[in-house]
């Protein structure tokens, strides 16, 4: 008799206790390791998991206090899911600096346009100055709108942004990348050292979800192999378990078929 089947008999005996959470941690991990490779024990667990569920449902019934409903629902939903999930942490200063830079550049361009306008309206200086004031107000409005609309900045500065680091796979060991995902504002993908694409091929970005992978969009790197772009800002994607970049025929495919070039797990 092999040790595997000895293990099997011993584990099978433990399954009922495992299912109701009655095993100490060391015995529990033995069972879990065995369960991964044993359909018979997994079926046994299913039967006892149902017993465990039944035990929970045969307790004496009690009506919850009426005030509990409002308290429970209020407390649960007041918590911002995004902010409790993933603190922005160490790269917050970097983000703030990037945001300042974007705003400075944007405001600079806008101010230059305003100056040109003032020159055209020298004869009506007072009116022009009024327009500058008005223009500044519009800058503020425009910047606010930009933060809410489709722009990489909007994603990077979203309160619920999450960073997913992507590692180069065997076909592109030097490649690396990052995905920034905000449930409300979209996805930004950056990548470096991606191999040049052969004609008729594109890179396709995927959210690997608990169901099927979802295509996020197509990207083509520049001559240096870099990608830096807003892939999508619809913001209604299912939460990713992982992000992957595969090579696919031009135009993309509904489900991944080609080699994986970049992969990263969401924590």
């Amino acid at each position: 008799m092999s040790t595997a089947s000895l293990d099997h008999d011993a584990v099978r005996e433990q399954i009922p206790l495992y299912a109701v959470g009655a095993l100490p941690p060391d015995e529990r991990s033995v069972v879990e390791t065995h369960l991964r490779g044993c359909a018979e024990c997994a079926a046994e667990l299913a039967a006892f998991a149902a017993v465990s569920g039944a035990l929970a449902q045969i307790v004496p019934p009690h009506e919850p206090p009426a005030a509990l409903r409002a308290r429970v629902l209020g407390a649960a939903t007041v918590i911002d899911r995004a902010s409790t999930r993933r603190p922005i942490g160490a790269w917050a200063p970097w983000l703030a600096a990037a945001a300042m830079l974007f705003i400075a550049i944007g405001a600079g361009f806008y101010a230059a346009a305003l100056r040109a306008e003032v020159r055209l309206l020298q004869a009506q200086l007072r009116v022009a100055l009024d327009r500058v004031t008005d223009g500044e107000r519009r800058v503020a409005v425009a910047l606010r709108a930009a933060a809410d609309a489709e722009s990489p900045l909007a994603v990077l500065t979203a309160p619920d942004v999450r960073r997913i680091d992507l590692a180069g796979q065997p076909v592109a060991a030097r490649a690396s990348g990052r995905a920034f995902w905000s449930r409300t504002r979209g996805v930004v993908l950056t990548a470096a050292n991606l191999p040049a694409l052969p004609p008729g091929r594109t890179y396709q970005v995927w959210f690997v979800t608990s169901a099927a992978p979802v295509s996020i969009g197509l990207v083509k790197p520049d001559a240096a192999g870099s990608v830096r772009r807003l892939v999508d800002s619809r913001g209604d994607f299912p939460e990713p378990v992982a992000v992957a970049v595969t090579i696919e025929p031009d135009g993309g495919v509904p489900a991944p078929t080609g080699d994986k070039y970049l992969v990263g797990a969401a924590q």
Binding site: L23, L35, A49, V51, G53, A54, V59, E63, P64, R81
Partner: protein, 197 residues
């Protein structure tokens, strides 16, 4: 017989409604959470109260559970079991954690159903909610167990005591406790599997 058919249909549509509610929670719809509370709050509260014993503690447990459900709605894979089954397991885990904290033990000496679901999609965990008839059979079987089998099972399941703690409390050798708990669970499984017809 028609009643049984009708109640099966009702169970199935409630399970669908739960799944749909979970999707709505992912999109941030607080009404979806309220709907789930209205469907299952009574059962979950009763379970929490059975375990923690005090009304105030049971209320805290329910608050923790619904907060967790709201936050993790997107992470629960509904193809792996009913939402109600998940809620039941979360409630038991949180309630037992609370008891263990009071006893000064480390929490989560328990099968962590939620994380099995998230990190190991391969494990076959059946979180079905049982029908009323099945529950009645299991309750009858539990009550019919000889006391030396029933008491260790109840101490383990509803009090979260480890087997060695049960052995110490009852003054029975550890191996005997393991055997008795196993026998009790086998009987309950047979009661659950009995065909109603």
């Amino acid at each position: 017989m028609w009643l049984a058919v009708l109640s099966t249909v009702a169970d199935a549509s409630a399970a669908d409604a739960d799944r749909f509610a979970l999707q709505r929670m992912v999109r941030g719809d607080p009404d979806a959470l309220a709907e789930v509370y209205d469907r299952h709050g009574r059962l979950l509260y009763s379970l929490a109260l059975r375990i923690v014993g005090r009304q105030a503690d049971a209320e805290d447990v329910l608050q923790e559970v619904f907060t967790q459900v709201w936050r993790q709605a997107g992470r629960y894979d509904t193809s792996r079991g009913t939402v109600a089954g998940w809620l039941v397991m979360l409630t038991r885990s949180r309630a037992l954690d609370r008891l263990r904290r009071e006893r000064g033990e480390a929490p989560a000496a328990d099968v962590d159903w939620a994380s099995i679901d998230v990190v190991d999609p391969g494990a076959a965990v059946d979180l079905r909610l049982v029908t009323a008839q099945q529950a009645a059979r299991v309750r009858a079987a539990l009550e019919a167990l000889p006391e030396p089998q029933r008491v260790p099972l109840e101490l383990g399941y509803y009090e979260g005591l480890s087997q060695s703690a049960i052995a110490a409390r009852l003054g029975v050798p550890l191996g005997t406790i393991k055997t008795r708990m196993r026998q009790a669970l086998l009987r309950l499984r047979d009661a659950l599997a009995e065909d109603a017809s």
